[in-house]
Symmetry: C2
Subunit: 323 residues, 2 copies
């Protein structure tokens, strides 16, 4: 397939978003939004670095790549609207596989009412997918990592470690409970868009999505907000059958595993009940897992309190060299 | 250098655009523009496919990659505002080289008052740079390929073939006139932003930037506008010393060479004088090189009229398989 035919094959015939002025087919896309702030992010995923066909079908690769990007929009409290896909295609990827990869993105995009409005397709030695996402948030209402304040409750959505557990099962075939559940958590994560949007009714929320493990994300909030954060490791939410994995891996995955694309954040005690109502309305598991410190120390760190009630520094991990 | 230090090293300390609400440092960037339409495009450049360090320094690679993207904004009549850079970095690229690559982008961005508001840095086997650009255009005033009408004048800015000529000299060292001039045209092309913006005063202009050669770009206008276009090959503007190259290459480069990032388009005869004034005001070489056909034929093609006054079909070329 040449580039022209390929673009035609993935081009949407109609656009869901009324703000599209010009979609695919010119030098650039055009959209209009005069009432809201515009939120944008880009992420790149490289074969054998971020994913492998040994554990994922092309459909999953597309789905998960877009999910990671949508999760960034959710972490800003933004409504997803558009995506642009730039892809480097090596010769060993067949046309049908590429079509499936785009199908995976399209599948998730449809759930979130997103339109594909641009992109680029080029040749190269290894497959890499760059996705730019664009979303909208009401003026001045974007949610930042820098909004945490001493006394806040630390919360997290969903369950942690499931994505890594799924990856573990895929790489270590054997007898495991709820295999399909963990596969899905790894291959088709669900960014917490509905919950994040409903938080718009709260006056202040610090928000981050868990792409690199809660310890890292809490560190990012801690640094940006200039506060210290304490996490009760035992309170971290995990799936019922998560206990089947070695204890050491359980801790590793839930604290540093990442790619669960759940949300972690902080909220004032006064608004905790309101947040719980948002969680109920959007059918989102929500749990209090720690607190923001009142300490006057200049050190902005994250601490973990373990089973034995020992408090230890939780440093950034899993934040490897340029990966 | 780890990812964190690297991002810090390229992060702008201040933002030039007043529309920035949140730059680099959260899950996504936020900006606000309530009065204009938003224009966005993405392009990816892969080492040894789109550029080589044999003919370009890292500075040039960065400069030229961003230039190609800015050119897309110019072709829409949009004012450049932001860019996001997602880069796949192989081990053999040194930190200093990467820094120079970003310097190249920053250099051109500064000329156009653009801010770097986001990106991603990941590991991989080959260097590839994905740049997302965002610009603004007054509501409903984006310039499309689909606006050409029979009777229009076909115009082009600058000179054609110079980028390919520069590439030729770099690959075939020898005695050539004005080497530096051609090197620069290849390595540091100047997108025609000022000219494109001033065209806002005209009522209708079809516009495309020359990334793949004027024959291809004219074909895109022809298809999108459902018209036929005739190009007088002898009228195509070239540099004075362009005659030093073999006649066959001269024709090949100016028609199919691409990467000059000049603008090609069509304008009503009634507005041709106004366009010439815009060219004068913005110091932009502008030339009439053909016309849009009055024919009622359903066939939307591009024809070239050669030296011997022979009219021949100019098909798409240089539009290789997924490059």
């Amino acid at each position: 397939m040449d580039e022209f035919s390929f673009i035609n094959s993935i081009k949407q015939q109609t656009y869901k978003q009324s703000s599209v002025v010009k979609g695919i087919g010119d030098d650039a896309a055009v959209f209009r939004n005069t009432s809201q702030d515009i939120v944008t992010a880009v992420d790149t995923f490289v074969e054998e670095v971020h994913f492998s066909r040994a554990t994922m079908d092309p459909f999953h690769i597309g789905y998960r790549s877009l999910a990671a990007n949508i999760s960034d929009l959710a972490a800003m409290g933004a409504t997803p609207a558009f995506y642009l896909v730039s892809i480097v295609i090596p010769k060993h990827w067949a046309d049908e596989e590429l079509t499936k990869l785009y199908k995976g993105m399209d599948n998730l995009a449809t759930i979130h009412n997103m339109d594909l409005i641009g992109g680029d397709t080029v040749s190269g030695k290894e497959l890499s997918i760059s996705i730019t996402v664009i979303g909208f948030v009401s003026k001045g209402n974007a949610r930042y990592r820098s909004s945490a304040k001493p006394g806040d409750i630390l919360f997290v959505t969903g369950t942690l470690g499931d994505s890594q557990a799924g990856f573990h099962i895929l790489n270590n075939p054997g007898r495991f409970k709820e295999k399909e559940y963990y596969y899905n958590k790894h291959r088709m994560p669900e960014p917490r868009v509905a919950f994040a949007l409903e938080l718009g009714s709260l006056s202040r929320v610090a928000l981050n999505d868990i792409s690199d493990g809660i310890a890292n994300e809490a560190n990012e909030i801690s640094e940006a907000s200039k506060v210290s954060i304490t996490i009760y490791e035992d309170k971290l939410p995990t799936s019922t059958s998560y206990k089947q994995f070695p204890v050491k891996l359980q801790r590793e995955w839930k604290l540093f595993g990442g790619e669960d694309f759940e949300l972690v954040g902080t909220v004032a005690k006064a608004e905790w009940e309101a947040m719980k109502l948002v969680a109920e309305r959007t059918n989102t598991p929500l749990k209090e897992v720690g607190y923001v410190d009142f300490s006057k120390s200049d050190e902005h760190k994250v601490f973990g309190v373990n089973q034995k009630n020992k408090k230890k520094l939780l440093e950034k991990k899993g934040y490897t060299h340029l990966e």
